[in-house]
């Protein structure tokens, strides 16, 4: 059989003996470092200066094009922001107008003063409305946050039968506006004595009851927190609830603040539900209903319009302050799910 290969060009092997092995190391040719060109700081600099950057003419054309398109974009943006800001500026200016209490055909007041603000607090139940709304906001933000976060955590972490369909159902239900069931809700709350002057409690119930459906954003955030953290904590001896408040909540701080903030702000702007449930009892108004009530008729509009504007400014203050304090969390909360940190 060995004869078969005789004619072929084959590399043959006899493994080396012990002495020959040591010779191999001596025979290794030394690496020729000197031949290689050394890369120094100077040689790099040289090669860099050799290729000098010469701006071509078409680059200039590109520059002008960019400038023109930027100008157009900025002009449009400026116009849009002016349109957007006008109502706010009007309200602010009107609230300081003293010479007339009704709507006038000009914007800048002829006589400046705090009369409207003083009247607002002394002649109307504005403080009560503020108090109502503030209480509403606090209660709703506490309860709703608890509901939403625990709901989201469960939907994010637990696998149970009907989980998917429940999520879909809630998503679809959430698409119907809340006031579809307005009359029913009113009758229910009326039966429990939660309308009129007690409408604050009725409203808390309305806002909080369905709040679990707002799980979507925070569930998305929880989904980005690695599940192995839960598992590690479970092995470390934590209960589900301990995992939730000791591990997940601190990690989800942005989304917790986002949830609190949105829950707190909702009652300040709600009108339909608040108006319907409070009905005609001014003690149960929130700020939106209360202020609207000031200018509900043509006569009251003539006497209260500037006061109404002052009310609008006052309402904006707490929300704005809160928002400015917490906005970095708010942004992190909204965008947090997008990029895993």
């Amino acid at each position: 059989m060995m004869n078969e290969y005789k004619g072929q060009d084959i590399l043959e092997f006899n493994y080396l003996s012990e002495e020959e092995r040591h010779d191999v190391i001596d025979l290794m040719p030394p690496a020729d470092y000197c031949a290689q060109e050394q890369v120094t700081a100077e040689s790099v600099k040289e090669s860099a200066t050799a290729v000098e950057f010469k701006p071509a003419k078409r680059h200039m054309g590109q520059k002008i094009k960019n400038r023109i398109s930027n100008t157009i974009i900025y002009v449009v943006l400026c116009l849009m922001s002016i349109i957007w800001l006008i109502p706010f500026v009007c309200i602010l200016l009107e609230s300081f107008r003293v010479e007339s209490t009704s709507q006038v055909g000009y914007i800048i007041p002829k006589e400046w003063g705090f009369d409207n603000y003083i009247n607002l607090f002394t002649k109307t139940k504005f403080l009560r409305w503020m108090g109502n709304t503030f209480f509403l906001g606090l209660a709703v933000s506490v309860l709703q946050t608890a509901f939403v976060l625990s709901m989201s955590y469960v939907l994010s972490r637990f696998k149970f039968r009907g989980r998917k369909s429940l999520m879909n159902l809630m998503l679809i239900l959430g698409m119907f506006p809340g006031f579809l069931t307005l009359i029913l809700i009113y009758n229910l709350l009326n039966g429990w004595g939660m309308t009129g002057e007690n409408s604050v409690f009725g409203l808390i119930l309305v806002y909080v009851a369905s709040s679990g459906m707002g799980y979507y954003v925070s569930k998305g955030f929880f989904d980005t927190i690695s599940k192995s953290l839960d598992e590690a904590a479970r092995i470390d001896g934590a209960t589900r609830f301990q995992i939730f408040y000791k591990i997940i909540m601190p990690l989800a701080k942005p989304i917790v603040i986002y949830t609190i903030l949105t829950a707190f702000m909702a009652p300040w702007g709600d009108f339909v539900m608040a108006k319907y449930i409070a009905h005609n009892s001014s003690a149960g108004f929130n700020v939106a209903v209360g202020l609207q009530n000031l200018i509900a008729t043509e006569e009251s509009k003539a006497t209260n319009y500037t006061m109404f504007c002052a009310g609008g400014v006052v309402v904006a203050v707490p929300i704005t302050v809160l928002f400015m304090l917490l906005q970095k969390y708010y942004v992190a909360g909204v965008t947090g799910g997008a990029v895993k940190g």
């Binding site: 060009d9 590399l11 092997f13 006899n14 493994y15 080396l16 092995r21 191999v24 025979l27 192995s228």
Partner: protein, 395 residues
């Protein structure tokens, strides 16, 4: 003290789907280091997670120290676990991370301090105790994760691919550290990995899995020397075992293997055992490890001519990929100290070389069942003596 016994353990994720794990039977002795190894999706992690209590057990029982733990919560099983992605709590400092399980158990403050600093010292992370996990490197994070498991002082220590997220150099270093650590921790270990090197170097015993079934259980030596089937043979050892269709020929009392036109005698214990088992001539899959193939010369009657495809110079050895005249690709492991410099540089693509197999270390697999024709039990007694064989049987 902790023994773990898995009996007929089964895991089914979805009804009617193929079980992720089935017929899993294993007894783990106290303080034993067992490694589950297999390709991804073989069910090794699932089994570990069932032991941990993170996955429900679909069938069978798992016992820890004689107590069936099927329905116990993880926290009631007295286990510690290290995860692949470390799973450190990002908002807590290293100290608090390690103290977390103790705080949940309401261990007194000074005891917490003592245990955490002690573990940190063993792992060499004392200076990082006040840092957050974010400020640590991968290796340091993994040490913290191990530390968090250590302070528990639990009966069972589970590790789910703890080194997979580290770079190669750090992985080797941590592997050595785990071997040392193991001597300091008095626990039973189950370690999951897809890396056969880790399995071989760490395990007292290795459990090789594929498609939810155990393929073989044995010491690193046993699974390497006496693979039960083709899968184990190819999975264990790097570079992997060469396997190819061949023929086993029986001529009276003598056995030969016909491969690439060369008839090689099977000698020693293997031939004797084949004879004892009355194995007839048949088609087989022949397995030859790369280190059991030698480059040779024309004087060798059993030489096979091959062409070099790729020369992988690893330093201490060359992994030579060659192709036979019949088109079969083989890997040959050539120790660099064994050949001269001229020969090293001559081993380029296209060079023709002669190879030969070492007859005693060939493996014969049934082409249909892929089982090894000679099992460990067949050969064990001859190698280790009759006494050893009895021990194996009684196991």
């Amino acid at each position: 003290m902790a023994t773990i016994k898995l009996t007929n353990v089964k895991k089914v994720y979805e009804k009617n789907a193929k079980p992720a794990v089935q017929d899993f039977n294993l007894e783990i002795k106290d303080k034993e280091f067992v490694v589950f190894v297999g390709p991804s999706g073989c069910g090794k992690s699932t089994t570990l997670r069932m032991v941990a209590g993170l996955e429900e057990i679909s069938g069978g029982t798992i016992e820890i120290d004689g107590v069936v733990v099927n329905d116990l919560q993880p926290k009631d099983r007295d286990i510690a676990m290290v995860f692949q992605n470390y799973a450190l709590y990002p908002h807590l400092t290293v100290f608090e991370n390690m103290a977390f399980p103790l705080r949940l158990k309401k261990v007194p403050q000074d005891e917490v301090y003592k245990r955490v600093t002690n573990a940190a010292e063993i792992l060499g992370i004392t200076e990082y105790l006040t840092r957050r996990p974010r400020a640590l490197s991968g290796g340091q994070r993994q040490r913290v994760a191990i530390g968090r498991a250590m302070v528990r002082e639990s009966k069972v220590f589970l590790m789910d691919e703890p080194l997979s997220n580290l770079d190669a150099k750090l992985r080797n270093q941590m592997r050595a550290e785990i071997i040392l650590l193991r001597k300091k921790i008095d626990s039973t270990f189950i370690y999951v990995t897809h890396d056969q090197t880790e399995a071989m170097t760490l395990g007292d015993r290795i459990v090789i899995m594929k498609d939810g079934f155990i393929q073989q259980v044995g010491t690193p030596n046993e699974v390497f020397e006496w693979p039960d089937n083709l899968f184990v043979a190819e999975f264990i050892g790097a570079p992997k075992m060469n396997t190819f269709k061949s023929e086993l020929i029986r001529e009276g009392d003598n056995y030969y293997v016909m491969a690439f036109g060369v008839k090689m005698p099977v000698d020693g214990i293997k031939a004797q055992k084949l004879y004892e088992k009355d194995v007839q001539s048949q088609e087989i899959i022949l397995g030859v490890r790369p280190e059991h193939i030698d480059l040779t010369n024309r004087n060798n009657p059993n030489s096979i001519v091959c062409t070099v495809l790729v020369n992988e110079m690893m330093g201490s050895e060359i992994h030579l990929h060659v192709v036979t005249e019949s088109g079969e690709e083989l890997i040959v492991r050539v120790p660099t100290v064994d050949i001269s410099v001229e020969q090293r540089s001559a081993l380029v693509t296209g060079t023709k070389v002669l190879i030969t197999f070492r007859g005693k270390v060939m493996h014969f697999f049934d082409p249909v069942t892929e089982e090894n024709l000679l099992t460990r039990e067949d050969l064990y007694s001859e190698v280790m003596g009759e006494e050893a064989n009895e021990e194996v049987v009684s196991e």
